[in-house]
């Protein structure tokens, strides 16, 4: 039996169901609407497991799921060695979001990472602590900042409403997922020109750890043509 993990709630679940349905695999919740039990029609030997999108990377890495649907951001953040334990089968074209770094819009002098690094040294000297960046994507942001050579900052954990952290004075900048940028703007923030850390979307993953033959499912979903995907690229830095 091949176990397929799918986000258990909301739009992400519905869009996943639609995506599979267009490829001849019908997923549905069985029982009451509140019960997390699923069923699969159109292919035998597949068991549907409904669980939180945030737990799917861990379950794939442990081999308890053979395949699973979750965001690129969550896989890259939660699995340090993700390419050793999972491989992407298909990008699904929804759940599009960018992991970005944003600063207060009124910092007119800070438009790119070079500026952020430059003011971080001074902020530390004046305030006695490192400039704080609120995020829940600790590993990805740390890696990105190291690669880009930003120093004298610190990460503070923020599991939700991250865009409000600057206004609440719990951080000076934020790193979070955004799809339209509207929440960023509404909270008086501005995305850095070169502050795109990762482009994420819902992706079907295959566990390299789980034992079992997934080829029937993979064949079925890949051999149906995919819809074209919109380009969500951010602007490049001019500085």
């Amino acid at each position: 039996m091949i176990k397929l993990g799918v986000p258990s709630k909301g739009r992400l679940m519905q869009e996943t169901f639609d995506w599979f349905s267009m490829r001849g695999v019908k997923l549905s919740k069985s029982g009451s609407d509140r019960e997390y039990v699923g069923r699969v029609d159109g292919l035998v030997g597949i068991e549907l497991v409904l669980l939180s999108a945030g737990e799917i990377p861990r379950e794939l890495a442990a081999g308890r799921l053979h395949m699973g649907v979750t965001g690129t951001d969550l896989v890259h953040e939660k699995l340090a060695n993700w390419s050793d334990v999972v491989s992407p089968v298909a990008e699904m074209g929804f759940g599009l979001a960018n992991l970005i770094i944003a600063v207060p819009a009124w910092w007119r002098d800070v438009t790119c990472l070079h500026d952020l690094d430059a003011i971080a040294a001074r902020f530390r000297a004046e305030h006695g602590f490192r400039l704080r960046v609120a995020t829940k994507y600790h590993r990805l942001i740390r890696q990105f900042m190291t690669e880009q050579g930003v120093a004298d900052y610190q990460l503070v954990d923020s599991q939700g409403a991250t865009e409000g952290a600057v206004k609440n004075e719990t951080a000076e900048a934020i790193a979070d997922i955004t799809s339209t940028g509207a929440t960023i703007e509404a909270n008086h923030l501005r995305i850095l020109e070169d502050g795109l850390v990762l482009k994420s979307q819902a992706t079907l993953w295959h566990s390299k750890v789980a034992r079992g033959d997934c080829s029937a499912l993979i064949d079925k979903v890949l051999n149906t043509p995919q819809p074209a995907q919109p380009d969500a690229r951010l602007g490049q830095s001019s500085c």
């Binding site: 007119r108 004046e126 590993r139 120093a151 000076e172």
Partner: protein
Amino acid sequence: MSQLRGETARLLTVFQSAGAIRVEADILQPADVLLDLYGEDVRARAYVTSDFLHGEQMLRPDFTVPVVQRHMAESAEPARYTYAGPVFRSQDTGSGRAAQSEQVGYEVFDCGPADEIEAEVFALFHQILTPLGLTASTGDVGLLIAAIEGLTTSNARKSALKRHVWRPLRFQSLLLRFSQPVKEKVLGAGGQLIGLRYASDVNERLEQLADEALAPPIPQSEIDALNDLLAIRGNLPAAFAQLQFLVQRLPSIASAVDHMSARLSALTEAGVDVAQIGFEAAYGLTAMEYYDGFVFGFYADQAGWPAVASGGRYDALTRVLGQGRDFPAVGGIIRPEFTLRLSDGDLL
């Protein structure tokens, strides 16, 4: 395990015979000190624990910080310390290093002539490690810092370069930026004043940016000389000859080169065959962020091994941890697990 204990005890005895006092350090270290010192990067390397009462603690990633703290808090006198025990490095970055490994260290706090102290520490490590067939590489971060001081450019640019000496990619990108005419910058649109940054800070930086826009590029001849400095490598006498020649183009490194000359003499006097020692001007600029002068490492001819020993001068670290005081300091560590394998002939 008992063999490892024996090897550790042997190394401790060598360091104690050289005048070091044995000191201990807690395995759990307060995270804030290490974070303030090393920045976020340390979280990727150290094990961070959480405790509902005491907050974040770290399993010690090295002994240097607690040993320096102890010296700065308790003593104004010269001192030599030795210590031994496990250090912990998390595998978040996939470095392939063991998560727990043993270190035996030797740290010297001494205001005496810098070249002699450096030679003393190196010669001691050399005497322990050369019989095991290890080869030594050395460097001197002070050369690069002196070269930056001598550039024809603003103090702001020099500070930015000095701040990133330990991040070679960022350093090169800054150097490239400063070697070209400044591109016109499109400022942000502005908005509601939120957060802790001072408005005066933004205004001052805007003024700085206006000054910066008029700043002439660093002359290409100076950039070339700086990159020629970073490319110097060879055995110690050969590298020294190249450096002496480079002084004509980088006059600001003259005193750092004199210091190296004195160190060469002191090393020879201490019985080190300097022709067998490597030197790279860029050595120690990646993994050793707190070293700010002479640096060294000893390597085995074994694929995948870390440096079997490493060390150097870290005056700036004592300044940061000394809360206003500083103390010239040179030290290093040996990994007994590896010296043991070399002396046993137990190799892959």
